[in-house]
Point group: C2
Chain length 151, copies 2
């Protein structure tokens, strides 16, 4: 089995799309993060949901658990207003904490496993001619490794 | 809303359970990782699926993408045999790459958001009297932040 056989559709978002649209997509699809594509369509980054929170939760609250505790429950209500007028691009750290792991459609199970091991990631983007054709999830790879069938 | 209201059941595994059982659980439930509990039941670590792959894929294959490419497709078939007789404990690195983020049942949305932001994690274990009562997922938190209701 090859990467193209194991890939499933996975939501992506454009670098210049609205930051709030990225949040809606993650919430709606119950995803911990999204694949981000360049304006030319090429998938280039991962936007982890935690990065959204790093952007909207004030730094002094992140750094002080006791402070987060004493703030009013309503303090969280306007949190996402910080995202108004922001693009996905604005949320991404200049230097990525997590690189997007990219595979070719004909990569083998072993190549995918080695890539996930090396990059510590549970998700690999399968890219053909600069287009995202889907992602291989770590749990799917484990399924295959548990019950290897004919190639 | 508090952590206990937002938590959903999330699979955990014991430190001394079989490593292969952890793999089966991740594959079956489509999870990128598991919460690991100490023998006394206290949740203490995260086992990321990528850590399983780091354990079973030989280091020289992880480090050499070209080598993974030329190896026979069948090279991946016996990969999980490495796990025979191993416990979950054996898979975990001595120093965790990722800490288990732990919240109290009455933690607020802001506390959860600050915790996920600080620890870069999409998952928080809600623990009451040393027992895991569930996990809060980042996507659920984003849902709440998008449509804040009455407390």
């Amino acid at each position: 089995m090859r990467a193209a056989d194991l890939a499933v559709p996975y939501p992506s978002i454009g670098m210049d799309d609205g930051a709030i649209d990225a949040v809606r997509l993650m919430a709606e699809k119950h995803l911990p993060g999204l694949v981000v594509c360049e304006p030319d369509g090429r998938p280039s980054r991962i936007l982890p949901g935690s990065q959204v929170l790093r952007f909207v939760v004030p730094r002094y609250v992140q750094d002080d658990a006791a402070l987060a505790r004493v703030l009013d429950e309503r303090a969280s209500e306007g949190l996402l207003e910080e995202l108004a007028g922001r693009k996905v691009r604005d949320l991404l750290p200049r230097r990525p904490d997590v690189d997007l792991a990219v595979a070719n459609p004909d990569d083998t199970v072993l190549e995918l496993a080695a890539l996930m091991a090396r990059t510590h990631t549970p998700l690999v983007a399968v890219v053909e001619r600069d287009r995202l054709i889907g992602c291989v999830l770590l749990s799917r790879l484990l399924e295959v490794l548990l019950a290897p069938g004919p190639a």
